[in-house]
């Protein structure tokens, strides 16, 4: 195949690819993103290929290796087309049975299909699984159909048609007007209207302009950008080329964090193929437009996700943010006008052009249009990536899609927006999610991480975790962030250690406000959010730590003790053998005792104590005090 030099050639190439696909042909699709590979998908691919060869079927059955399908918990999995039968949590030894039944006999290998934990109802198609039912998978659906290493799969699904339309049927103003009409807002966190952002950059007079795709997805607990880049890199690339045409940029950069090696690999391959077929480089699709994209691998610094820091990093410097204005649209990369958007935002652009702004604007709420991908993780039954229309409620996400809390425990809070976001309590579960409602609740949309917390999660510990994170990742350029976050961590440590004082709560709030007001960049300005929201919604928990010296969730090490119930202990030696610091004394069939002076509170004893015995437990507050008092009295007696 040669370069594509005209939209008509693109159309005929698409028909050619489609003609090669027999609708009746069996296709085995194996999901193999990072999660899939970590769960063993590579061994599944080997097993499938071997088995097909053994049965002499390798020419009759197509094997397609794709990116992540979203329901990470069911990895490794595969789908057999055209029946769409979905098999989950596979081991290599399961493959012969699946090939025998699903491929040769056209039956369903029912032992490997999905079964609902509660209703025990089986679902043999992916679309019938409750996890997928309420989703609206506009961006992620194609991950099922595309081998990210082969551009033809993307072209077969109308890939690069939007680009052809933009280049040949639309002016740059027209493209921007369409994106603006669609109501697309930045998916990276702040939610700035994308069309307006482009227009500002387009209007700046300069012969050199840049665009950047921010794929430095550093928020812990968020990985939708990784999934898009791994599973459908061309959608992001196409969005960028359209954006470059609208703004008038000649060069683009995709900045991917180094922690995503598979995404780096797939993007670099996709760029090569796009260049080969004439979607990048000189005279794109035979038009007069020229544009190319470079791939930059990050080097491990959370702050590089901030736009001005990211640009400094591309320039080969420390990822320090700088004062704005001037905004990147005026003076960005190497002082030239630069437009920067995040991965998910770029991936929405071809969709808007292909389906039209009116269609797109019908999805979502008044102020937030389209869908948003969230990563639903933490103490939830169904973990994975979910794509939902804006305006869906938290309850629908947690219970209908997420299947509720693990182990039927009580829902406590949902953390959105990563270290810049906040914790939303159970009372707000009916909140319809969009940029503005989340901001009103004290959190932010952020990049879309949603971490579910149950009654065993301590909110002081959560605040401490995030502040530890931001404090470590603070670049150190401005004082409020550098010193302020450090002080917040120290106060939180003090509270978690049981040494908190009443005045600490006021200090936390005052300091948080100062950091928000005085910091240079988004990292510092939002760093105190986890503290402020937990103070707002979970003040009682802070007070319990300070006044009662109690950690209600039994998490903070300084406030708990492990103890063995002499009535329940059968003297099985399990905890004694597993204690890493030999803090448990006892003999076979005699009650074991923990030496609290030696105990490091690692919890190994609690984990190994058999469930039916459950002699080990955690205590806090008064109970802890009395147990420690008894223990020390006994020591004195000895």
């Amino acid at each position: 195949m040669e370069r594509i030099n005209h939209p008509e050639q693109l159309a005929s190439w698409k028909s050619e690819i489609l003609a090669g696909h027999l609708p009746s042909k069996k296709v085995i699709v194996i999901s193999s993103g990072t999660c899939g590979q970590a769960s063993g998908s590579l061994q599944i691919i080997d097993a499938v290929n071997q088995e097909l060869k053994k049965k002499g079927l390798q020419d009759n059955v197509e094997v397609k290796v794709t990116g992540c399908h979203g329901f990470c918990q069911l990895e490794p999995n595969l789908i057999v087309y055209p029946e769409e039968t979905f098999y989950k949590n596979l081991k290599p030894e399961d493959i012969p049975e699946i090939i025998e039944k699903s491929i040769i006999k056209n039956e369903i290998a029912s032992s490997f299909v999905f079964e609902d934990l509660e209703t025990k109802r089986k679902a043999d198609k992916q679309s019938e699984i409750p996890f997928y039912k309420k989703q609206k998978r506009l961006l992620t659906e194609n991950n099922l159909k595309i081998d990210p290493k082969d551009i033809k799969d993307y072209v077969a699904l109308d890939g690069y048609q939007a680009l052809a339309q933009a280049l040949f049927n639309m002016t740059s103003e027209g493209v921007i007007a369409e994106v603006e009409k669609a109501g697309l807002r930045g998916r990276g966190g702040a939610g700035f209207p994308t069309g307006r952002k482009w227009e500002i950059c387009r209007r700046v007079d300069s012969d050199v302009k840049y665009i950047i795709c921010n794929a430095d997805e550093g928020d812990p607990g968020a990985y939708m950008d990784r999934s898009l880049l791994e599973g459908n890199p061309h959608s992001v690339i196409e969005g960028m080329i359209i954006g470059a045409y609208a703004i008038g940029a000649q060069e683009g950069y995709i900045y991917v964090r180094m922690e995503y090696p598979l995404a780096v690999k797939h993007v670099s391959l996709a760029l090569e193929q796009a260049r080969m077929y004439g979607f990048l480089g000189e005279s794109i699709l035979g038009s007069e437009f020229a544009f190319d994209i470079h791939l930059i691998e990050g080097a491990g610094a959370f702050v590089s996700g901030e736009e001005t820091s990211l640009m400094a990093s591309i320039e080969g410097k420390r990822a320090f943010p700088r004062q704005r204005p001037p905004f990147p649209a005026q003076e960005g990369l190497w002082g030239k006008p630069t437009n920067i958007n995040n991965v998910e935002t770029w991936a929405n652009v071809p969709l808007i052009l292909r389906k039209g702004a009116e269609w797109y604007a019908k999805i979502g709420t008044r102020s937030s249009k389209g869908t948003k991908i969230f990563s639903l993780v933490g103490k939830i039954n169904n973990t994975g990536l979910v794509e939902v229309p804006m305006g869906i409620t938290l309850r629908e996400i947690v219970y209908d899609i997420g299947g509720g809390i693990q182990g039927k425990k009580k829902f406590k809070a949902i953390q959105t927006g990563g270290p810049s976001g906040g914790c939303i309590p159970a009372e707000k579960l009916d909140l319809p999610i969009d940029y503005d409602t989340l901001a009103k609740a004290g959190s932010i949309m952020g990049s879309g991480g949603m971490i579910i917390m149950d009654e065993e999660t301590c909110m002081v510990d959560v605040a401490r975790y995030f502040l530890n994170f931001t404090q470590e990742e603070s670049c150190g350029k401005c004082v409020p962030c550098r010193i302020g976050t450090k002080q917040l961590v120290e106060i939180l440590n003090k509270i978690a250690d049981g040494k908190g004082e009443d005045s600490d709560l006021i200090k936390l709030e005052d300091l948080s406000k100062t950091i928000k007001a005085g910091s240079l960049c988004g990292l510092g300005q939002t760093a105190p959010n986890p503290v402020l929201t937990t103070l707002r919604y979970f003040l009682k928990e802070y007070e319990a730590h300070i006044k009662m010296k109690t950690c209600p969730a039994l998490v903070c090490k300084g406030l708990i003790a492990y103890t063995i119930d002499p009535e329940k202990c059968v003297g099985c030696l399990l905890c004694l053998k597993n204690c890493p610091v030999d803090a448990i004394a006892g003999e076979r069939k005699k009650v074991h005792v923990i030496d609290h002076e030696l105990c490091i509170k690692c919890g190994a004893c609690l984990d190994v104590c058999p469930v039916k015995i459950s002699a080990v437990s955690k205590v806090t507050g008064r109970k802890k005090a009395s147990i420690l008092k008894n223990a020390s009295e006994k020591r004195v007696e000895k």
């Binding site: 970590a38 812990p220 607990g221 691998e297 990050g298 610094a301 320039e315 080969g316 994975g384």
Partner: protein
């Protein structure tokens, strides 16, 4: 070093790419490497030192034979990652970011690998271990020849 540097333009924008390559080939960034990069890019050694110490990807000392990385993302955190770090640190008798005296293991943490659904996650030499409950088994697996 010359072999590495010939692939790169003499422009500061290449600095991070060069450091990645050096780290990959030598396992760390040596003082000699810094000197050669400075000469190639015509910037001061100070500048290079400031950039390389800013990013976590680069080290001034060689790492151990096996690099054990515990993910400390939020999802892994609520599922017990802090204990895994404590366990690993006790088992290996080194702190986070340190290498055992026999240069067999380096213990590191990362702030999220984006495989939150299968956490807690521990990566050893690029291989992902999911739903990790205990560190001793993983460490034992890589202790051969120690």
């Amino acid at each position: 070093m010359e072999n590495i540097l010939k692939d790169f333009e003499q422009d500061q924008k290449e600095l991070i790419h060069i450091l990645h390559r050096v780290q990959e080939e030598l396992g760390y960034v040596s003082p000699q490497a810094i000197a050669s990069i400075a000469k190639h890019l015509k910037i001061s050694e100070n500048e290079i030192f400031s950039v390389l110490t800013f990013y976590k990807a680069f080290t001034l000392e060689p790492r151990g034979k096996h690099v054990v990385t515990v993910c400390m993302g939020t999802a892994c955190h609520v599922r017990g990652a802090p204990r895994l770090v404590d366990d690993a640190s006790r088992e290996l008798e080194v702190g986070v970011g340190q290498t055992t005296p026999d240069k067999h293991f380096t213990l590191e943490t990362v702030n999220c690998l984006g495989c939150c659904a299968i956490g807690p996650v521990v990566v050893v030499d690029g291989k992902y271990h999911s739903y990790v409950k205990r560190m001793d088994a993983i460490i034992k697996e890589y202790s051969e020849g120690r």
